[in-house]
């Protein structure tokens, strides 16, 4: 009893968290790292052995890895950009006096709470070239498209789906940002007779910059993990034109059972993401200082 009292309450209260995270996060991270230095194939478990950096050295020459990486970067940048534009637009709209504003807000936010598998399947169904409602409506306008059949379009159809699901998230954060802005600069702008566009460019946007950077970072981190839409719609095709990095690593690890290589790739991915986040934090710092 006397000895136990030496551990202060503040540490006692974090012990369960620390222990649990050691078990479910730190240990798996470490053991993945070990796996990444081994020839570790589920199909040849007996022949498991350490191979140093071999798995890592293979990555620069792996064309499919870089194809998947470039698909992912194209996907992330176009999806997050569009989500930002539409999300900001919607946030500005809902920031005004709109009838049934709270109702609209709540309904417009629902897509971000739905499982991406369902979203992927809904759009696979609605965009299907034979019996989808959207190609059907387009056909009546004289437009014939098959959203998932040809190379650049398939990837952008996936972008479109991501935009449908995640624009609400941007809207949520940006609307909260707008609502927390100080009022004085806007009143000053109005007194000076500034136009709406001028006020937006010179007052709203600069004040919102930190919120924008945070929203974009969170969204980008999440968009990097794109997997479900591909799994239920294109399976990476046509060719490998929609294969994302997560999907490729999944294939290497759980379709070809080459765990060592998959682990090495996943660590390279983690490093690339870390680098991007670091760059964006520099951006945030710049945004704050100006």
């Amino acid at each position: 009893m006397g000895r136990r009292a030496i551990v202060p309450l503040k540490y006692k209260m974090v012990i369960p968290l620390v222990l649990l995270l050691l078990a479910v996060l730190i240990y798996p991270m470490g053991s993945s790292l070990l796996v990444s230095f081994q020839d570790y194939r589920l199909t040849a478990l007996r022949e498991r052995h350490f191979v140093g950096f071999d798995n890592y050295l293979r990555i620069p020459r792996d064309a499919r890895f870089w194809n998947a990486m470039s698909n992912t970067l194209i996907f992330v940048s176009s999806a997050v950009f569009l989500e930002f534009v539409f999300g900001f637009g919607l946030a500005l709209l809902l920031h005004r006096r709109v009838r049934m504003r709270n109702f609209f807000r709540s309904v417009l936010l629902t897509p971000m709470f739905i499982t991406p598998v369902a979203v992927g399947l809904i759009f696979r169904f609605m965009l299907n070239s034979e019996f989808g409602i959207i190609p059907y409506l387009l056909r009546s306008l004289g437009i014939e498209v098959d959203f998932f059949a040809t190379s650049p379009l398939a990837l952008f159809s996936i972008v479109f789906i991501d935009v449908w699901q995640w624009t609400p998230f941007m809207m949520l954060l940006l609307l909260a940002g707008l609502e927390s802005l100080p009022r004085e600069p806007f009143e000053a702008a109005r007194v000076d007779g500034a136009s709406a566009w001028f006020t937006f460019r010179k007052v709203t946007f600069p004040l919102m910059r930190p919120v924008i950077v945070v929203a974009v970072i969170i969204r980008m981190l999440d968009a990097f993990k794109v997997f479900e839409y591909l799994y239920v719609i294109t399976r990476g095709g046509p060719g490998n034109s929609t294969e994302s990095i997560m999907y490729y690593i999944y294939r290497v690890g759980f379709r070809f059972f080459r765990m060592g290589e998959a682990a090495a790739m996943s660590y390279v991915l983690a490093l690339i993401i870390l680098l991007l986040v670091f760059l964006e934090f520099q951006l945030l710092r710049m945004a704050r200082s100006t």
Binding site: M13, L108, A118, E130, G132, E228, M246, S266, A270, I273
Partner: protein
Amino acid sequence: MMRRRLRSAVVHVLVWVAFVIVVFPYFWMFLTSLKPYWLITSPNVWIFRPVLDNWREVIFESKLPLYLLNSLIVGGTVALVSVAVGSLAAYSFSRFNTGGVPARFAILAAQMLPPVVLVISIFLMMYHLRLLKTYVGIIVAHLSFILPLVTWFLIGFFDEVPRELEEQAMVDGYTRFQAFYKVVLPNVRAGAAAAGIFGFVLSWNDFFYALILTGGPTKTLPVAVAGFWTFRGIEMGQMAAAIIVAIVPVAVASFFVQKYLVKGLGGGLKY
């Protein structure tokens, strides 16, 4: 006056357009789930005699209720553990600044880790322990990202409770822990519930971990839903019904969580 009215009209039209874009897919899936199988591949049919065949098959003749139960068990366990463990730790982070900025940052950094890093070793662990296709692996995997997030949310909610509250309680003879348990905790009840529900939603929606770590009788709902697109045509009505089953609980939960989400995401950030 004219101009303002025009602008207001434009704003309303745009909001309605967004509303239709969001709601139409829900409506279309609902309509599809009520179509008899010979109409499912006819997008031009809007008016028909609705049938409940798809719903009957999904509820009574498929294993979907079992998978729904799996999702409830996994999500419920993860949410409860996260809130219990997370609120203890979050209180410590909030009041004693335990571990300082690095600890807070570490909690946030856990969110950046791509799931593939963890899934490989969790999969191998479960493989060697012969625990694949049990609840263990999926609960471990979900805790790895939901526990830090829930803790992060809770730090923010605890920060908002004035310190005077527990100081007063301690003057009244409570120990620090009693003050936490009996005075502070009830004050973050709503926030903790929202964090728990959000954690539940994240678990309910996860597909990646569930695909790799569950299977057979432990499949969760998203994995089961993804399995409906195997035969073309006839299964699609059931798929529509299953999708609605997967969507509705979280859509309802979202109305409760929305209010706290922004505040929660801000979490332990100290400006």
